[in-house]
């Protein structure tokens, strides 16, 4: 039973010789991403504090890096790369769609409630 894992990441930019080697490669990648997040989280560079599309630039970076990490954990650790496209789509599209929908509704509503407190007559904190 030879290795039938797909051994390329970054669309073939990096090719690994064995599955074990790929695992360590992905670990290094995840560690670098986490280290970048932590360093940015501690120092919070002034340049990234400006708002882009309604959110701080730094927060966009954190969220994008989190999704990058989630991608590699799912694709390489959970072997999603080796599953059939049908299974992959059933899991990822369902999850991504429902989560985006839920997050949009709740954040929108939260912002609205804040505005009511801020501009309206209701002041009670609960």
């Amino acid at each position: 039973m030879a290795d039938t894992h797909k051994l390329e990441i970054f669309r073939g930019l990096i090719k690994f010789k064995s599955n074990t080697q790929k695992i360590w490669g992905v670990l290094i990648l995840l560690s670098i991403v986490t280290a970048v997040e932590v360093v940015l989280g501690i120092y919070k560079p002034e340049a990234l504090e400006s708002h882009i599309l309604g959110m701080k630039g730094l927060n966009w970076i954190f969220i994008i890096l989190t999704i990058v990490k989630a991608y590699y954990i799912t694709w390489d650790f959970m072997h999603m790369r080796d599953e059939t496209p049908g299974l992959r789509r059933a899991v990822v599209w369902t999850g991504v769609f429902l989560i985006c929908y839920l997050v949009f509704i709740l954040l929108q509503e939260g912002g609205y409630v804040y505005d009511v407190y801020d501009n309206g007559f209701i002041k009670r904190d609960f």
């Binding site: 039973m1 030879a2 290795d3 039938t4 894992h5 599955n19 074990t20 695992i23 360590w24 992905v26 670990l27 995840l30 560690s31 986490t34 280290a35 997040e37 932590v38 989280g41 501690i42 504090e49 927060n59 954190f62 969220i63 890096l65 989190t66 990490k69 989630a70 954990i73 799912t74 390489d76 650790f77 959970m78 072997h79 080796d82 599953e83 059939t84 049908g86 299974l87 059933a90 899991v91 369902t94 999850g95 429902l98 989560i99 839920l102 997050v103 709740l106 954040l107 509503e109 939260g110 912002g111 409630v113 804040y114 407190y117 801020d118 009670r124 904190d125 609960f126």
Partner: protein
């Protein structure tokens, strides 16, 4: 797909599980079903956290000021360091798990045993760290005063740091209060109304804080409202005294489900609920891993000629890691 070996004697029996629609075995498919539903549960919690945060966007606690502790390093403010360590431990245990799965594909029993053992150790370290983090958060560090409206007032003073700049440094309530005797004792069922309960009494009275504040002219009050630089607003001396005298209700130390010295009680509620739910997942993951580990040692999967069970548990374990990556971002970073 030869990376996923399954010999369950059902080959060819279409209606007995021999049919594998997406080339994934029944067990693995069910694990994916579970993971998708569980992912939706966790995202609902995190979205609810986002809702509450957006609702109080101008007064939410700053996580960097809350989680500053590292074990054995007392009194040093090191935000993020310990959580980063925990994240690394969990990613590391994910790696040993995936190595165990890989060794399983090659039917190497010894390697599977060792990698699974390391995974279990990583999980235990993580849960232990989480418990420590909880204990530190519950204990609190500076203490604060809760107002009649339920808001939090904290204390501090301006000090010159090593660069010669004025910097606002927090002052603990216990360091400046002037304690006065009190007649008030804790109400217990045996000495009062038997059907009424009372929690622990606050360590100090409001008048102790007022006396301490008046005796220390440099101490100022910091509210939970964020200013334009996204920092907590610091009141002037007169405003500070007025705020405590007119609105102070009780002294709060640490955090629990009802009060939180760092700001909105919702922050503490979500922290306990989300990290608690995740910690429970890690704990059950460790238990399942231990069961599977014994099965590996006993040679169950060797006889079955397939280590697919390790792979299925591995999926769960990676999922727990995946959730932590999101909790880490939304609780500690953003």
């Amino acid at each position: 797909m030869s990376t996923t070996v399954a010999t369950t004697n059902t080959e060819g029996k279409t209606w007995s599980g021999g049919n594998e629609p997406l080339k994934a075995s029944y067990g693995k498919m069910m694990m994916w079903f579970f993971i998708v539903t569980d992912a939706l549960t966790f995202s609902a919690f995190l979205a609810a956290y986002g809702f509450s945060r957006f609702k109080f966007i101008d007064s939410w606690p700053i996580a960097d000021e809350v989680f500053t502790h590292v074990p054995f390093l007392h009194g040093q403010e090191l935000p993020m360091i310990y959580v980063a360590f925990m994240t690394f431990i969990l990613i590391m245990s994910s790696v040993t798990m995936v190595l165990a799965v890989d060794a399983g594909h090659h039917m190497k029993k010894n390697k599977v045993t060792w990698y699974l053992f390391l995974t279990i150790i990583g999980g235990i370290i993580f849960v232990g760290s989480q418990a420590w983090e909880w204990a530190t958060f519950i204990k609190g560090d500076y203490g604060a005063v809760q107002t009649k409206g339920g808001n939090i007032l904290q204390f501090g003073e301006y000090k010159t740091n090593e660069n010669g700049e004025q910097e606002f440094k927090r002052v603990a309530v216990k360091d400046f209060v002037i304690v006065s005797p009190t007649e008030r004792t804790n109400h217990e069922r045996k000495n009062g109304l038997w059907f009424v309960d009372e929690g622990t009494l606050p360590p100090y009275q409001i008048k102790d804080v007022v006396a301490g504040l008046e005796a220390n002219p440099n101490i100022l009050v910091r509210t939970q409202i964020l200013n334009e630089e996204r920092e907590k607003t610091i009141l002037s001396r007169e405003e500070s005294l007025a705020a405590i005298k007119n609105n102070g209700k009780r002294v709060v130390e640490g955090a629990n489900l009802e009060v939180n010295e760092y700001g909105s009680p919702l922050f503490a509620d979500f922290f306990f609920f989300i990290t608690g739910f995740h910690g429970f997942h890690v704990l059950s993951g460790v238990v399942i891993n231990i069961i599977i580990w014994f099965n590996v040692i006993l040679g169950t999967y060797e006889r079955r000629k397939s280590y697919e069970m390790v792979e299925k548990v591995g999926l769960y374990w990676h999922f727990v890691d995946l959730v932590w990556v999101f909790v880490f971002t939304f609780f500690y970073l953003v």
